[in-house]
């Protein structure tokens, strides 16, 4: 019984405790295994496998059906069975051959072994022999032995060779017998390749199509624990070479596992599958293996951002596109924002931000509409003026110069304009600095009114006079209206009195907003100023983008009359407050006290006249609000812009963005912050209340957010946010970037130049641009009725020309010359190519752009040589005659036969202007070069029977039958021989004044009833 005394616990109880805890422990281990086995991505791969099987089965079904229908296939199958029959007849022969082959193979094996062994012995002897030669002893008769053995070896070698050749003979016999069947099989294989490919793919994924062993293997490979060896369901990943996740001192290799769940991302055919199985859109462009951005090279997160290594919905840092998606994700996928990753996935609407890091040179970016709009808005709204971004470093200020403001308008207008620009022009790009959320209470309004008065005072007191020629023609409003509509003003300007409720911002829409909306100018500008400006904008502001349209004095007067007739009565009646000295004192004191003590400030203010105070405050305020960033203002030359540089704003850490009191209202993402900041810049000066109203933070006036309101639409803000998110500091290796060839650089530089100067407001290049077309249509409606304005081909022919293939088209010397000295080319056009004051270098950049875009790099070309006595020239004469080019083209002073409506360039110009190579391309198919052009492909009798040609076209033409290019060159030769007047403008003018265009109009009175 000693035992019992030495025990404490009841062993049965302990056993029970042990049993229970062991069971629990076991259960926990099971749980661990389940947890480890049931990875969240697995169910997606299982689901996708079903989809894939379904799809391959369908494809296979379709392919088999097609095969059965294919007569060729059926024939081949028959041939094959016939061949097989033939083979059975010769079966005995074949059997014999097989037997022979077996014997021969055995012999070969034996001989080969003998040979190899003998050779090994020989090598040993060879060494022995050489060593004996060296004088270190060794066997005396090594030489002899070596020689003997060598003969032996050679004999074996011959044996082997002989056996081999015998085998070859036998085999060729076999081949002969099997020939038909092999041929039939081969052609059948090519035909059924697609089919067997599909079958093979199916056997890999579809258990039903697998062999029994594979079926078992298919199950076993994915069993728990065993599945670490070679599972079907596995984490898939792309290691993106060269691209790294940005760390501070070290990049870590980028690994993207997105395709673990997005299994179908690079497989065509799942375009309509639900997420996450969907195929990536535009597979030929992105992700596809042969696209410019293959998945294996670029991965996913290099564009989309996100946590590529993650394999769960949450740990991959997905970002919802909107609140609704967020709620759905929360409910269905347990999503929450991933705060522990600096660059979460870009939501769908900002995805194009990812394009910018590699393609920052272009404008617009093809296939990236939102980003392009962002670039366009950024430039147009002048964001770059306050926020430095390298791309726009060289651009002049976006706003007009205010050096000679007093000559342009008056103080009252200026005051009212600065205070509330959109009350004058509803869609102006000049932003609102005042009446914002943070400066709108009555006290603020009183103060800001005085601020604007002070700034106005400063602008006018520093303005220097602008000398204009004193022209004083009486203008005709109506003529002015037609001129504004027809000259091309509307490539850059709108005249839109009321806001357009359906305004849909786009790169193209913004092109017509290059210059201001020309409404209510009568309330704004001085007539003398306007005349001077219209005649030569550069004389007022050398950096202006407004070009010189070479207007006559009369034209300028007409346009001025038209523009000045429009006045904004409501705006005119707005009151301008009077100066309130005590408020001005306070404003001045705010600035003075930055430098001086309180008592010094008081003394300074006592010494100052009111006008001095206004000027002082005005200058300081202009500096404070950063007006000088956008406008040239006296006294602010060379000052740095006031905004934060945005060069790498997209890489800014989110902790550097201050959400102030908005942490509940604005989702904690960079893009939502940027959106709020652009949408309502003073947001973070405000304090939101639960009922949707807000209070304003206690801030001294000078500490308030100064960023103004631009009145942008949601689409524009989204576009800007896309751009900002794209301004990142990621280092991209050269290998991943578009190759920086001289041509690439020229094209990107040119694209930007062309965008900045709004060439595409008028011209269309490769389908992009041509914003002026609506204005052309309006003008056509004006002069030829709505019937004609609706005819898009007519609108095209009266709009500035398409510039497709411009580089291949024109001779660069001529183009440079012409740019600097514009003259008439298309006699029917009213719209005018303006004269720009670009430098040689800038024009050369444009020409380089055209040429590089067209794959050329020529600077000098041999002139096209021809002889007027040649067959070619004479044939050309005949071809042009038959083709009746004179119907539409000027031949020097010779007018076209048809009405002005159909007119086309003077062919005398061609030899200096166009390149012969391009002309051939052009003649071959004008519509493929310039879609919509009225130029027909000249008819050449190249395919006709030679006798017919001789009879009808003459012997010279007949020489070229069968050679299209040569035949078309006859036209080139002929044109090079064409002499005559180059400038036909006077003839054109006279003709149009007397006979008009000859539009086919539908007169209203054709209907004969005037009821409606």
């Amino acid at each position: 019984m000693a035992d019992n005394q030495e025990r404490h616990y009841n062993i049965l109880k302990l056993n029970r405790a042990f049993a229970i805890s062991s069971l629990v422990f076991f259960a926990v281990w099971i749980l661990v295994f389940v947890y480890d086995f049931q990875r969240p991505w697995k169910k997606y791969q299982i689901e996708f496998r079903k989809l894939e099987i379904e799809k391959i089965r369908q494809d296979l079904y379709a392919e088999s059906a097609a095969l059965e229908k294919n007569s060729n296939y059926n024939q081949l199958v028959e041939e094959l069975s016939a061949a097989e029959k033939k083979l059975t007849v010769r079966q005995n022969e074949l059997d014999e051959i097989v037997q022979q082959l077996e014997i021969l193979d055995a012999e070969l094996y034996k001989n080969n072994q003998l040979y190899q062994f003998a050779k090994a012995d020989l090598d040993v002897l060879k060494y022995e022999y050489e060593k004996s030669q060296f004088g270190h002893g060794g066997s005396e008769n090594a030489g002899e032995e070596y020689g003997g053995l060598n003969i032996h070896v050679n004999k074996y070698y011959l044996d082997v060779q002989e056996t081999e050749s015998r085998i070859e003979t036998v085999k060729s016999q076999e081949r002969k017998i099997r020939k038909y069947i092999d041929e039939a099989k081969n052609s059948l294989t090519t035909l059924t390749r697609e089919n067997s490919l599909l079958k093979r793919r199916l056997t890999k994924v579809d258990p039903e199509a697998m062999s029994f062993a594979n079926k078992i293997g298919n199950i076993v490979r994915d069993l728990p624990v065993i599945d670490f060896i070679d599972p079907y369901y596995e984490v898939k990943q792309v290691v993106v070479k060269g691209l790294e996740e940005d760390l501070i001192y070290m990049g870590m290799p980028k690994v993207d596992r997105c395709m673990t769940c997005h299994v179908g991302i690079d497989k065509a055919g799942f375009e309509d599958a639900p997420q996450p199985y969907k195929t990536h859109p535009k597979l030929d462009f992105i992700v596809g293996p042969s696209s410019a951005h293959p998945l294996s090279e670029f991965g996913c997160t290099s564009c989309h951002a996100g946590r590529g290594r993650g394999t769960r919905f949450y740990t991959t840092a997905h970002s919802p596109n909107d609140q609704e998606t967020a709620h759905r994700w929360e409910k269905e996928l347990g999503w929450e924002p991933m705060h522990y990753w600096e660059n979460p996935m870009l939501p769908k609407r900002y995805t194009e931000a990812g394009c910018y890091k590699c393609h920052s040179g272009n404008m617009p970016l093809k296939e990236a509409e939102t980003l392009s709009l962002g670039l366009s808005v950024f430039e147009k709204a002048g964001c770059y003026a306050c926020h430095q971004v390298d791309r726009w470093n060289d651009l002049p200020k976006p706003g007009p110069s205010l050096y000679h403001l007093a000559s342009k308008t008056n103080k009252d207008w200026t005051y009212k304009w600065i205070f509330e620009p959109r009350s004058f022009r509803h869609n102006t790009w000049m932003p609102h600095f005042f009446k914002k959320g943070n400066n709108s209470d009555p006290e603020d309004l009183k103060r800001t009114e005085q601020e604007v008065l002070a700034m106005t005072e400063y602008l006018f007191s520093t303005a220097t006079p602008y000398k204009t020629a004193n022209v004083d023609y009486a203008g005709d409003q109506e003529k002015g209206r037609v001129l504004v509509n027809s000259l091309g003003c509307k490539g850059c300007h709108q005249i839109q009195p009321e806001p357009d409720s359906e305004y849909d911002p786009s790169v193209d829409a913004i092109r017509t907003e290059q210059g201001p909306n020309l409404i209510s100018l009568g309330s704004k500008v001085n007539r003398q100023w306007l005349l001077g400006w219209l005649k030569n904008p550069y004389s007022y502001h050398p950096d202006t983008k407004m070009p010189n349209l070479r207007l006559s004095d009369q034209e300028a007067a007409d346009i001025a009359a038209y523009l000045l007739a429009d006045k904004n009565k409501t705006f005119d009646q707005l009151a301008v407050p009077s100066v309130n000295e005590s408020i001005v004192d306070r404003i001045s004191a705010d600035f003075l006290s930055q430098l001086l003590r309180q008592d010094q400030v008081a003394r300074r203010l006592e010494d100052m006249e009111i006008s001095e105070k206004l000027n002082y405050a005005g200058e300081k305020l202009i500096g404070n609000y950063g007006c000088y960033s956008c406008h040239n203002i006296a006294g602010f030359e060379g000052k740095k812009p006031i905004g934060t540089s945005l060069n790498v704003e997209g890489s800014k850490l989110i902790s550097k963005l201050d959400f102030a009191f908005w942490h509940d209202e604005i989702p904690h993402t960079k893009w939502d912050w940027f959106y709020a900041k652009v949408d309502k810049p003073e947001t973070f000066d405000l304090i939101p209340n639960d009922d949707g109203t807000y209070a304003v933070k206690e801030l001294p006036s000078l500490d308030k957010s100064r960023m103004p309101h631009y009145g942008l639409t949601d689409k524009e803000i989204d576009a800007l946010v896309t751009l900002i998110m794209g301004l990142v500091k990621d280092e991209i290796p050269e290998s991943k970037l578009p190759e920086k060839t001289p041509a690439y650089l020229a094209v990107t530089k040119g694209e930007r130049f062309i965008h900045t100067n709004n060439c595409l407001g008028c011209h269309k290049i490769d389908g992009e641009g041509g914003a002026i077309w609506t204005a052309t249509a309006a003008w056509l409606g004006e002069v030829a009725g709505s019937e004609n304005s609706e005819d898009i081909s007519l609108v095209q022919s009266f709009s500035p020309p398409l510039l497709n293939t411009e580089g291949r088209k024109v001779q660069p010397d001529w183009l440079l010359d012409w740019f600097q000295n514009v003259s008439m080319i298309r006699p029917h056009l009213q719209v005018r190519m303006p004269s720009y004051d670009f430098t040689h270098q800038e024009w050369n950049g444009v020409i380089d752009y055209f040429q590089s875009k067209d794959g050329l790099s020529l600077t000098y070309e041999n002139p096209h040589s021809f002889s007027q006595a040649s067959n070619s020239y004479l044939a050309g004469q005949k071809v042009q005659e038959e083709g009746a080019c004179i119907n539409c083209h000027f031949y020097g002073a010779m007018k076209p036969r048809q009405d002005a409506l159909t007119w086309a360039p003077n062919l005398v110009l061609t030899k200096e202007r166009l390149r012969p190579d391009w002309l051939i391309e052009w003649f071959n198919n004008p519509q493929s070069v310039m879609p919509g052009t009225k130029m027909p492909a000249p008819y050449i009798p190249v395919d006709e029977p030679i006798n017919d040609v001789i009879e009808y076209w003459g012997t010279e033409v007949a020489t070229f039958v069968g050679d299209t290019t040569a035949m078309l060159y006859t036209l080139v030769d002929w044109m090079w021989g064409l002499e005559g007047v180059e400038d036909v403008s006077a003839i054109v003018k006279a003709h149009i004044e007397s006979q008009g265009y000859g539009f086919i109009t539908e007169d209203e009175d054709e209907w004969e009833d005037e009821e409606w």
């Binding site: 947890y35 070290m250 990049g251 290799p253 596992r257 394999t311 740990t315």
Partner: protein, 264 residues
Amino acid sequence: MAEQTKKSFLEKAAESQVWKSIFRGGGVPRNRRQRMMSVLNSVFLHLHPVRLPKHAVKLKFTWCMGGLSFFIFLILTISGILLMFYYRPTIEYAYTDIIDLAEQVPFGIMRELHRWGAHAMVITVWLHMFRVFMTGSYKPPREFNWTVGVILLLLTLMLSFTGYLLPWDQLAIWAITVGSNMARAAPFLGHEGPGASLLAIGDINFITMASDARFALIGGRFMGEAALLRFYVLHCIGLPFIIMIFMSIHFWRVRKDGGISTPV
């Protein structure tokens, strides 16, 4: 004899020479002697005496905290060795390897086990100390073993602290930065500590930013690759080695100082 002739395979195996050579005594101990022998003959069990005062087997008295501390240390050792197969202590890979453990590596749960085990060990060690204090078990003759225990507590914290850096994420480096910045202020040894400026001969200052205690700890002026490597080596080799020595002493002294403390 006659009644028991058939023996099961297991019984036969238990009588074999191989079995007996490994498990002395063999079989389930059923009487007092066997029970005593099973403790005496086992290298693991003979940490314990053969017999104990009754209260020493009561959970209420010991809370089993010392035993658990040791056991968790074993779990940490095993899971830590498994982690070492995947983890590379370079700033290029450390972080991504940790992500991989969570996202992709089979039984990546070892990392959770290791991390939570580490936290649990700190707690069990504290509670063990608390229990020892509350029962007055530090008193002579066990005063030296208490001191060893304090050293073990310190080593436990240092192990946890060095391991904290290894994931190389923000949480890690800033926690360690905050911790190791203290070294900068160590009197005399830290370059911002009192008295450091006195350790100078003429103009030559011996304690500078690049030669003080913090520099020695993290292998540089900033938290970087060197710090990671130093902490890794300390965490995986240095400190476990030391703690095992002190644990041996601790266990040895428990027996040598009279076993578990008892009321006199």
